[in-house]
Point group: C2
Chain length 429, copies 2
Amino acid sequence: MGEKFQSLPGFRDFYPEDCAVRNYVFDHWRAVAHRYNFHEYEGPLLEPSELYKKKSGDEILQQLFHFEDRGERSVAMRPELTPTLARMAVARQRDYRKPIRWFSIGQFFRYEKRQKGRGREFYQLNVDILGEASEVADAELIAFAIDLMLDLGFAAGDFIIRLSNRDAWIDFMQNESIPQEKLQDFLQVIDKMEREKPELTEKKLNALGSSRQAVDNFITSNAAEKHFTSIMTDLKARNLANHVTIDLGVVRGLAYYTGTVFEVFDSSKSMRAVAGGGRYDELCGLIGGNSSSMPACGFAMGDVVITDLIKETKKANARLLNYLGNTSATDIQVIIADEANRQQALASIQQLRNAGFRVNYSMTASKVGKQFTQAEHAKARVAVIIGSEFPEITIKDLAQRREQKAEAGEILEMVRTILATEPEGPLIA
Amino acid sequence: MGEKFQSLPGFRDFYPEDCAVRNYVFDHWRAVAHRYNFHEYEGPLLEPSELYKKKSGDEILQQLFHFEDRGERSVAMRPELTPTLARMAVARQRDYRKPIRWFSIGQFFRYEKRQKGRGREFYQLNVDILGEASEVADAELIAFAIDLMLDLGFAAGDFIIRLSNRDAWIDFMQNESIPQEKLQDFLQVIDKMEREKPELTEKKLNALGSSRQAVDNFITSNAAEKHFTSIMTDLKARNLANHVTIDLGVVRGLAYYTGTVFEVFDSSKSMRAVAGGGRYDELCGLIGGNSSSMPACGFAMGDVVITDLIKETKKANARLLNYLGNTSATDIQVIIADEANRQQALASIQQLRNAGFRVNYSMTASKVGKQFTQAEHAKARVAVIIGSEFPEITIKDLAQRREQKAEAGEILEMVRTILATEPEGPLIA
């Protein structure tokens, strides 16, 4: 009989304690998007496979959950949102004033090889500005990313924005007489340079008609400075420039970027990209045809790396723990000290819930001591004890360990007063 | 070039105005779950197909998006949450105090035949209590459902809870000497009775050894009353019983229900089920084996019918429109009247956003009149005008059409004061 079911490898179960952590991240994503006046949207989780092939070629299918549906359509569980965004924005381009400022929070799927820390689903924040060619939009997104990190409790030493621009490398290729059609190949070499053996990089660059020496010289020179002047001036005005470093070694993997690219980088010991994005001025035209062409830029942040980083970083983790303490705690435990008065207790429970309070109670008859234990586990601030002396009831502030007698009609006001005052001591754990 | 991509049939794009409606429903689902002290969880969107076959037999696959993944597993995009919940609860049964009070908001997928109003994906609220056999739990869920409807702005005439109990039909079958192994067949007949031709129902009931007359007599008699006494007493104590009608004709389609079943029914002209649920005491044992057996009850509400009903119901729709007005409006438009002072404007924008305000501004140089139009479209309450006379700036309450001069250092406090006061007249549309 007892067949055991398990979840699929790479897919997460979010038990309440995990779901609260997820919601903490979502709440911050939404809060900063709100301040920056972005509007939330969402697309389908299943899209025609063609939408991804168009952008990334057939190889992309190797990394997707894709299949033929019962209507013989080739469909894929979405691995990212940008193609969907481009499809949606292009389809109703005339209905929205430019610049379009949209964000989304959703789930994505990739059939990754099994390895530590690599799931097959993840949540992602996507933030995009469409219809604005100026680098002011790029700066607005970088400022958003910085403010998000600060809001989560990270400080200057915890993270850095690595800012780059693909146009700088186009300049370089021109100087080195590398043909422009080699751009993607060349950027691939730069992208891998940090993690690859120097001899291999040298070999690849030689094949393209350049060298590590030339690349290194370019990176350390000021030759590319002009590409960053306007963004850095903007971020300085916002007093955020100290969180940014120019790093031409960052080019981002995706083929569709043009111009600015950047990543939020974990600058503590684990050195991971936490988020990344850039300008992709050609994607809307590619998806919707030339007449739909629209400049665009955006960035995305996944939930996995940022959650790890929050947990590893003292101040960020303290904020998380504070949130978890608040969201898991109930306001009031109604204690039914005499089963004969369960109806009266239910009336009070309803009244308190109607007033917006979070109320817990024992659904079955049980001893008062056991109900107080339940109050403790529910982290209730107040106990309302309804016993045989009803309509006289007892209201207990569990944080202050003070109790008062009251009439049933006074419960709401007395509870409201207690909940409006900060407890002097620590709450019962 | 201009190949047009479209979303798959039955899948929705949520543009910002649609996403805000979705979020309105989600916010209410979460708010009531909070008051009732339920904790949020979430499971995977992809599960082994076996999980659904176990519960509903092989035919269920006809209605699923299911496929073989690259690891040759038979997998399905989840059509409902209850099997996942049972799997999760059973796996960590000992880690959680009973009763478990969990809720979830997520997306589900069914490969339905194309027809009006039937999508292939939908969102659903799931609310469940596990580990509590008493009907107090059933009453708690029904109260939750009623409070949710009231919270959304529905009144007594708009909806009704149709309450039933499968045990009543087991009594009936005993009286009529219908063998117990015919239970599912019999319930199917009762479930379809409302929509089916009377002659067909009669024929089916005759085949089972009963008749429409016997069924009708049973429904209109008080024979089943004992099954509802405790739930109705509980709901009366909460002053919610007037929203409930006992209706034995409701049995709910799913095979796994035992005991109480109920649905939230749109009692206006369109007569649809808005939500439904009941007790399923055997499912945990079925999923996890006999040793995992645990009483359980729950209900689910989809987003599609409730959203239609909100839009069709005057008071509910007014609440929605009020929410949409608030969420789409920005607090402040910073107007850059002199491009030479863009840096100063950015500093103010940053300061206002740091204080938690929602701030919009023009990313490119444009005429002041055009920026005021932008403020109007963004539904900004306040305009902060930064021009050549900086550090003197102008702050305009766009609702009251009043303006004041100020120093740059005073912006934050003045804006705070304006935003803390309700406008006397209507906001600019």
